[in-house]
Amino acid sequence: MISIQYFARLRELAGKGQETLDREQMTVQELLDWAEETYPGFGKDDIQVAVNEEYALPEDVIHSGDECAFIPPVSGG
């Protein structure tokens, strides 16, 4: 199981703050592709993925038990 968190625009688009995905492993890019298909308008090209609270690269591998979060462009400050 991979846990996923949504924030800001993505939270409103997905209609939820978190969910779990029943996979043993997948790449960050595969997770983004899955999200784009599942939630039309996701906008994966502008979104980063954090794995266990650290920014990940598209080719990084996510394993069951990892905590993932989609990070749309930040706007703090």
């Binding site: 800001a8 609270e53 462009p73 930040v74 706007s75």
Partner: protein, 148 residues
């Protein structure tokens, strides 16, 4: 308080400047980012901030470590508020002390630039007739970039 934190209650900036002050500090710079009433000719009613809290606090602490590496002798505290913020409320506070003033200015400005790049915090602007999540979205390339 924690020196790098995301908070829900109103920010008392003095707490953070007191934290960084010590006998070796000759200069303290305190930056506060406030909710502004007008942006690009549109009147803001309030802002709603949201964060990925544990990662945001980790990233704030990393920024602090970057600052201490680049400007030896600085001491840093940063807090960002989330939730519903109204006009003039403090959204972010950055306190930096240093033996000498130049590092205190430079490091402080570095911190706000880095916060806007890497810390997972998002701002939604609520106007009288609508709302919008800010960020470097393609649709609104001129928004959020110079927001403070």
């Amino acid at each position: 308080m924690k020196p790098f934190e995301v908070v829900e209650a109103p920010i008392d900036a003095q707490v953070y400047s007191n934290y960084v002050l010590h006998a070796g500090a000759g200069a303290v710079t305190l930056f506060t980012g406030h909710v502004r009433e007008w942006t690009h000719g549109v009147r803001t009613v309030y802002l709603a901030y949201e964060a990925y809290v544990p990662m945001a606090e980790k990233k704030l602490a990393e920024i602090g470590a970057e600052m201490e590496a680049k400007w030896p002798g600085v001491k840093v505290a940063i807090a960002h508020r989330i939730g519903e913020l109204h006009i003039s409320d403090i959204a972010v506070v950055i306190a930096v002390s240093s033996p000498h003033r130049k590092a205190a200015y430079e490091a402080n400005e570095y911190a706000i630039e880095r916060i806007k790049e890497v810390v997972p915090i998002w701002k939604k602007e609520i106007w009288e007739d609508g709302e919008e999540w800010l960020g470097a979205q393609k649709k609104y390339p001129d928004k959020g970039v110079d927001s403070v």
